[in-house]
């Protein structure tokens, strides 16, 4: 049966790319995009970066309503999908039933909250546009910011708050931030950017409560100390939004489980973006990513595969993300679980360098700080499964060329 109704659940990047790709591939049936938020699809990376730096930064909307209408994308916005019936092939949105032939699940992830801090005004998470508007306004009016969690989003927020003159403290439960994302050693190196720019970093402690009369005035830490705060941003990770799939036959376990082609195993149902845990053939690993690059690419491919399962192709990728702290661009390609990490060029203390990650005899990851010209060259090496000796040789040649330019 040729599908005539594509339904995309999720209206962020992966969902939008799914809908666009269907049209680009000449699909002439109906395309319906369901989104929990009222907003048209918008770009999330700037929300914790440039968007916070000045009050007049525009909302990073991808396409206006007219352009979506021109593409023939029907929008069902403002209410989340609440259920899925894979027998009759229908998505429930409250009392509405939206039938599909092909379905792309792209519901993303929601910010994890911290119950110990709930109930006080001035405590935020940062995931959505509404969150970002609230945080920005608080940054604009505030004097003391406390960020819980020294991950990428938390660190970006701290960088913006500090840049706008707030006394800023980052509280991190583990001893080394970012260990899972870029490894312990390099996590520690990046974390040093905070004190180097006047942000206090408190590791090995957790936030156990908030004090203040309605509004937060102080955060209480697990060592008994307190930190003044009129703005608290909780950045302790995200949870895939898959509760609505309960009893649907689609299996979720920290993300919707999918094969290399993003197929869930339920006929007609594919998944993409932060909500999917799929098999990445390039590393022969099952992974769930929360980054722009893979959300965009998975969204487009999931739609193509869902509309033509017989010709489905796998999605394999070298994960890539970037982050901006205190004017330093941090870029990572690959995977961080490694046997060895070697700085091949630059100066770690100056926060300007290239580090490579070795697993066995293979190059599996690359981290650059303030070396934007290098990262994609290593991403290409990782993509073609370059071995370690080749990577070191390449690095030596690059370092030589860079020295010659100076």
């Amino acid at each position: 049966m040729t599908p005539s109704r594509l339904v995309v659940v999720g209206s962020s990047l992966a969902g939008l790319r799914a809908a666009e790709a269907a049209r680009r591939n000449g699909f002439t049936g109906t395309v319906t995009m369901i989104g929990a938020e009222d907003h048209l699809p918008y770009d999330k990376p700037p929300l914790s970066k440039a968007f916070l730096d000045a009050d007049d930064r525009p909302t990073p909307v991808y396409r206006d309503r007219e352009s979506l209408a021109e593409l023939g994308i029907d929008l069902v916005l403002g209410e989340p999908a609440t259920g899925l019936d894979t027998e009759v092939r229908s998505v429930q949105v409250g009392v509405r039933e939206i039938p599909y032939d092909a379905l792309v699940i792209a519901t993303g992830a929601r910010a994890r909250s911290l119950p110990a801090l709930e109930g006080h005004a001035g405590v935020h998470t940062l995931r959505t546009l509404d969150d970002a508007v609230a945080v920005r306004s608080a940054v604009s009016d505030g004097a003391h910011a406390v960020v819980i969690g020294a991950g990428f989003i938390g660190s970006e927020v701290a960088s913006s708050a500090r840049g706008r003159g707030l006394a800023t403290t980052v509280v991190e439960a583990s001893d080394t931030p970012l260990a899972r994302a870029i490894g312990e050693e390099m996590g520690a190196v990046c974390a040093r950017l905070h004190p180097a720019h006047g942000t206090a970093l408190r590791t090995g402690v957790t936030a156990v409560g908030a004090e203040g009369d309605g509004r937060v005035e102080r955060v209480v830490l697990s060592d008994g100390s307190t930190v003044d705060a009129d703005l608290v941003v909780v950045g302790v990770g995200a949870v895939p939004d898959t509760d609505w799939l309960a009893d649907s036959g689609v299996t979720a376990d920290d993300g919707v489980l999918a094969d290399a082609t993003l197929a869930t195993g339920v006929p007609g149902v594919y998944a993409a973006g932060d909500a999917v845990r799929w098999h990445n053939d390039l590393f022969d690993e099952t992974m769930r990513l929360e980054n722009w690059t893979s959300a965009a690419e998975q969204g487009a491919l999931a739609a193509r595969n869902a509309l033509d399962p017989a010709a489905a192709t796998p999605y394999s990728t070298v994960p890539y993300f970037w982050s901006d702290w205190y004017g330093v661009r941090i870029q990572f390609a690959g995977v961080a679980r490694a046997d060895e990490v070697v700085v091949v060029d630059g100066d770690v203390d100056a926060h300007r360098f290239v580090a490579l990650y070795r697993r066995g005899d293979r190059l599996v990851g690359a981290l650059t700080l303030a070396r934007p010209t290098e990262i994609m060259k290593y991403r290409a090496l990782i993509a073609r499964r370059a071995d370690w000796a080749e990577a070191l040789e390449f690095a030596a040649a690059r370092a030589e060329a860079a020295a010659a330019r100076c």
């Binding site: 990376p45 722009w292 965009a296 690419e297 870029q331 934007p372 010209t373 994609m376 060259k377 991403r379």
Partner: protein, 64 residues
């Protein structure tokens, strides 16, 4: 065929370089360099991917 890029939109994330390294390169200063002589018909597929994959919509492919 020509690549037009909007300097104000580009933030130097480098995905274009991932798709067509012969054409696009992020420089030491983080700004995009376009190697115009490498914009050829054989690379059309990769160039389209770079244009479509740009996170800030800074690239356009125009027929000349």
């Amino acid at each position: 065929m020509q690549i037009i890029f909007d300097q104000d939109k580009c933030t130097g994330i480098g995905l274009c370089e991932s798709f067509a390294a012969e054409v696009f390169e992020i420089g030491d200063d983080g700004a995009l360099i376009i190697h115009g002589e490498a914009v050829t018909e054989e690379r059309r597929g990769a160039l389209m991917q770079a244009v479509d994959g740009c996170p800030t919509n800074a690239l356009r492919l125009v027929e000349s």
